[in-house]
């Protein structure tokens, strides 16, 4: 088995609140949006030719109601459009085994759990905080092995729709040269992250303009 390539990757939330059709007069996710747009701009600037998107597939119930494009892909396309990205987009939702990065940037649309507090979509599950903490630690340190090993069954129980995409990230790329968390929070009981991984040695995404903290 060959080692996966080093790659630039960005993780953003899959929340439909980021979609233009769900705008409000007062943006409930202004900080998340600013961070996500900044991170995707960073990725698009580094990979103007091609971006590979990993996200959750459409829920079976939603598919039965006529949803043809999963929210993760619509969020990705929307953020790429905001970034002015005009290159090729390869979509994997849900992601399969073979990523075929081929020099592109990786855009991972994935949330953490949705059971962080009593008002969360799935109500409070005491296991959720620890699960999210483990994911966040892995994202912060570029720990691909930890992502690869995320527990899918527990993830499902905690309404963590991002597990398959995060596992695919862990499988598809080598440990990054540097990682930076632009946003981490669970404003509605759902864990969101905006993270940038740089695949190039000697670079620190935190020093790169284009993002700001919420």
């Amino acid at each position: 088995m060959t080692s996966p390539p080093a790659a630039d990757a960005v993780v953003v939330p899959a929340t439909p609140l980021l979609l233009p059709g769900n705008r409000s007069l007062r943006d409930p996710v202004a900080g998340v949006r600013a961070a996500a747009e900044g991170a995707v701009r960073w990725l698009a600037r580094r990979h103007p030719e091609r971006v590979v998107v990993l996200g959750a597939g459409a829920d079976a119930v939603d598919r039965g109601r006529g949803v043809t494009r999963p929210a993760s892909l619509r969020v990705a396309r929307s953020l790429l459009a905001v970034a002015g990205f005009a290159g090729r987009v390869d979509e994997h939702a849900p992601p399969g085994e073979d990523l075929a990065l081929g020099g592109g940037g990786l855009l991972v649309v994935a949330d953490g759990t949705a059971r962080r507090d009593p008002e969360a979509p799935g109500r409070l599950d005491p296991r959720a905080a620890g699960f999210d903490e483990a994911v966040e630690t892995a994202l912060r340190h570029g720990d691909v092995a930890a992502l690869r090993g995320l527990d899918e069954a527990l993830g499902r129980a905690l309404l963590c729709s991002g597990v398959p995409a995060l596992r695919a990230l862990g499988s598809g790329v080598a440990r990054p040269a540097a990682a930076h968390v632009d946003y981490a929070g669970h404003p509605f009981g759902v864990q969101y992250w905006v993270v940038r991984w740089s695949g190039r040695d000697g670079e620190d995404p935190a020093q790169d303009a284009g993002t700001r903290r919420p």
Binding site: T15, P16, L17, N22, R23, S24, L25, R26, P28, A114, A120, P121, P187, F188, G189, V190
Partner: protein, 287 residues
Amino acid sequence: MTLQLGRHAFDDDATLMMAIVNRTPDSFYDRGATWAEDLAFDRVARVVEEGAEIVDIGGVKAGHGDPVDAAEEQHRVVGFVARVRASYPDLVISVDTWRAEVGRAACEAGADLLNDAWGGFDPGLAEVAAEFGAALVCAHTGGLAPRSTPHRVEYGDVVRDAVDSTVAQAERAVRVGVDPRSVLIDPAHDFGKTTFHSLELTRRLSEMTATGWPVLVSLSNKDFVGETLDLPVGGRLAGTLAVTALSALAGARVFRVHEVAPSRQVVDMVRSVAGWRLPARAVRGLA
């Protein structure tokens, strides 16, 4: 089209609340509650707090009552306009008058808008608006004289008459120099109309908005609401809000109201249902 109300400009999708402020001892709804100037000033503060963009200051009760000559009307209105102007530079000040001489004095004191609720009875009012760069409301009264009550009034088609009359007034106003961005038309419910006429105007308000002129509606607690629901003044809020909703859906832009906050909520809600306004903050089911 951008709405230019004197010194204030509004986007073409803005809806505006015009709060009624009476400087009268006998108006039908408040019965002199703001006859004392300080109480009227307190009401201005309250409606501004509630989000009104416009105050409509009137010195003469619309219906029957003691005669109020021009000098008395000016006495009631002009100094008050100046006081409000000084305290609220961002507020649109409208004056509800049919008299050009009162309009002139009000504009000199800082009024932005002349609400000619009696439908061009004194044609000089448009010239005053032009001279001062003020806006003008052109209302339909069916030719009724100020402060008179309709008696067996009939129209072949009340909506057609309202459109023709208000558009003719609007076009004349522009001809005498009023900025076309500063002219509104008002079907003037109850004025020169039976309840059936006002109901039909409400039902077919889109024919007025289709003219392209911004439409002001003055519905608040009026008799057509009271007669329709058999409710006295004081019990007409729900009926008022119902016709406010329908008027918003028909595209009315300015709402002359007693109750600012509920009217604003109804208009915002209707416009969001119509897809013309974003929700304030929608998270439900999307986090």
